[in-house]
């Protein structure tokens, strides 16, 4: 399993390299630059600024310096728009925020979605099943950019229970709404997938075998049915985990959490080349790590996958 993880990690190096190169040139293709503004800077000052950030060099030299600094110093360069800040600083400030509520959002999704799906499957076509299905449809038509304002309307403006934005060092009351807004539609999907997966598994011949052995229903559900039921849920969660931790751009901006999603938007507006590149690299590394974790989780559950990894 360790060997497999190492092999996968090595394979990510060329991927990252090509990603850096593509992003690097793509950004340079976009019109404008970090220091263009409505009132152009005097040419002499502009030349000084460009020299200060190394932007006067030919592109391939810039790229080479960039990669060299990452590899040898783990330095993703200075921010072009926010003076005195490096990309490392910005990520160190924003990433923990996004990671924190992304994590709680994932907990919310799994801790609620799986039991909901299980109950709906066990009580198929009952009141609870219909409630769950209704909720799933409801959350599909209320994506996070509709849900977030509604949450604020209810819990901040009407009831006054929760703060409508900000972070406050990650106090729990500031985490709840971003986590819920981010997770709700995934929660519904997880519940739906769990339900149909469990229904399918409960009809499987090996569940009938377990009944014929005289096992209690609870043992059958927990020992025999739950593990295989979770396999499709894990597959589904693989890209969702990444999205939850990284792609929460809207939630970051709406709740002014100061997470990296907000930084990404800012950087794109200001053509802050180094910040955009740094975040793109962060996202792809996260994608890789989370996919690997999901694959390992798959292997932990399914012995067939496990023997394939050896």
């Amino acid at each position: 399993m360790l060997k497999y993880s190492l092999r996968r990690s090595l394979a990510v190096v060329p991927t990252l390299l090509s990603l850096i190169i593509i992003c690097f040139f793509l950004m340079r293709l976009a019109p404008g630059g970090p220091f263009t503004s409505e009132r152009p800077l005097p040419p002499a000052i502009m030349a000084n600024v460009l020299e200060r950030y190394g932007l006067d060099q030919p592109l391939h030299i810039q790229l080479w310096t960039y990669i060299k600094n990452i590899v040898f110093h783990f330095d993703f360069g200075p921010s072009f728009s926010q003076r005195d800040y490096t990309v490392n600083d910005l990520i160190a400030a924003g990433f923990p925020v996004t990671l924190t509520y992304g994590f709680w959002s994932a907990v919310f999704v799994l801790a609620l979605g799986i039991p909901l799906g299980v109950v709906a499957a066990l009580r198929q076509n009952s009141f609870w099943d219909y409630i769950m299905t209704g909720f799933a449809i409801f959350s599909q038509i209320f994506p996070n950019f509709v849900l977030a304002p509604l949450l604020v309307l209810l819990f901040t403006l009407a009831l006054g229970w929760l703060p409508g934005g900000g972070w406050n060092g990650g106090h729990w009351s500031y985490i709840i709404m971003p986590a819920v807004a981010l997770g709700t539609s995934y929660l519904a999907n997880v519940a739906r997938i769990t339900r149909s997966s469990l229904l399918e598994i409960l009809g499987a011949p090996y569940i009938r075998t377990a009944r014929a052995k005289g096992l209690p229903e609870r043992t059958i559900l927990i020992r025999h049915a739950l593990k295989p039921t979770l396999l499709p849920v894990i597959s589904y969660m693989s890209p969702v985990f990444v999205y939850m931790i990284t792609g929460s751009v809207f939630v970051d901006v709406f709740f002014s959490t100061g997470g990296i999603g907000q930084k990404f938007i800012d950087a794109a507006y200001t053509r802050d080349y180094s910040v955009i590149l740094g975040l793109a690299i962060l996202y792809s590394v996260l994608t890789f790590v989370l996919n690997l974790l999901v694959d390992l989780a798959y292997a932990a559950i399914d012995p067939k996958v496990r023997s394939g990894l050896k």
Binding site: T209, A210, R211, K213, G214, T219, D302, P303
Partner: protein, 330 residues
């Protein structure tokens, strides 16, 4: 007292408009250690009978009436807990396809040990020792290694041996085997059947073998029951069912065996198909396909009566037997 005594067992399947009758008041007995074959076409009610005996019918199927007396207790009246205590313990079941009847995410050992511990107070190690002994009994090579393996690491024949070992774990009084060799390679089928026979004989276990293979039935069972459209139409010693079938349907089945046909001839067949549950004919369910059907057959369901060594549900069986005898005399 017989081990199993089934009386007027009726099983229905509910649907939108009401309920369809899948088993129509069947009755039979099984003595201790006796081996009974149930044969018939797909949909005749063989497997339903097996499931009903274990009280394993799942929605929309349900037992609508009758008794299943197993060691004197009525399975249809048992509480959930009593049923659970019986299953896998006194009455065990072997299913059709060993590729899908073992849980793929649990080891062989886990699946055997949990069965033992569900019925007896045993430590894991004690249960493991029993499981290993049973694995050895069904000729599994290197049982200690197999115990740790997952189903996908084993061949189909090996898995069916393991399922047989699992059925025997708690020394049941009755094993219901539902087409235990259908999904297996022909070369392995005979081995598995032989093993099943040996295990039943050496442990004094009663066997109900559900199959459509008359060859297998004649190899393993002492008595055979022929089912058609949810009814038992003939029940007798296997030898006489094979050599001297009484019911026109059984006769058709036997003469359809390839051994009964000369090379180069077309295989015999019974014209028509078995009626579906929703489209049952009146009277004897076999009359639309029967060459000997009379007006009585079309209106009245035949009772079971003795003919030769068997019990047969046919109005015309005595007339047919006489005709056969006079033909033979001429």
């Amino acid at each position: 007292m017989s081990l199993l005594s089934v009386r007027d067992l009726t099983v229905k399947f509910s649907n939108r408009t009401g309920a369809l009758t899948a088993l129509n008041g069947i009755s039979f007995d099984l003595a201790r250690g006796e081996r009974l074959g149930i044969v018939g076409e797909s949909g005749a009610g063989k497997s339903i009978t097996g499931f009903a005996l274990m009280n394993l019918l799942s929605q929309p199927g349900f037992i609508d009436g009758g008794q299943i007396l197993f060691e004197g207790e009525d399975v249809t009246q048992m509480s959930k807990k009593q049923v659970r205590d019986m299953r896998g313990n006194r009455m065990a079941m072997i299913f059709q396809d060993p590729m899908v009847t073992l849980n793929p995410v649990l080891t062989i050992g886990q699946q055997m040990v949990e069965t033992l511990r569900a019925h007896r107070k045993l430590s894991f190690e004690e249960a493991r020792q029993i499981a290993l002994v049973k694995l050895k009994e069904v000729y599994i090579p290197s049982p200690v290694e197999r115990f740790e393996q997952y189903p996908h690491e084993l061949s189909g024949g090996m898995r069916q041996r393991i399922i047989i070992a699992m059925a025997l774990l708690l020394d049941p009084k009755l094993i219901i085997a539902d087409e235990p060799t259908t999904a297996l390679d022909v070369t392995i089928q005979a081995d598995i059947m032989e093993l099943l026979l040996e295990m039943c004989q050496s442990n004094q276990v009663g066997l109900i073998l559900i199959t459509h293979d008359l060859g297998v039935v004649s190899q393993v069972t002492e008595r055979t029951m022929v089912m058609y459209a949810g009814r038992i139409i003939e029940n007798g010693p296997t030898r006489s069912i094979i050599n001297d079938p009484q019911h026109p349907y059984t006769q058709g089945l036997i003469s359809a065996l390839p051994q009964q046909t000369q090379p180069g001839q077309r295989l015999k067949q019974i014209p028509g198909v078995m009626p579906t549950l929703s489209d049952m004919p009146s009277g004897c369910p076999f009359h639309p396909r029967c060459d000997h059907a009379t007006e009585t057959c079309k209106s009245q369901v035949p009772d079971i009566s003795q003919s030769g060594e068997s019990f047969v549900a046919c109005h015309e069986v005595h007339r047919l037997q006489k005709e056969l005898a006079s033909e033979a005399a001429q």
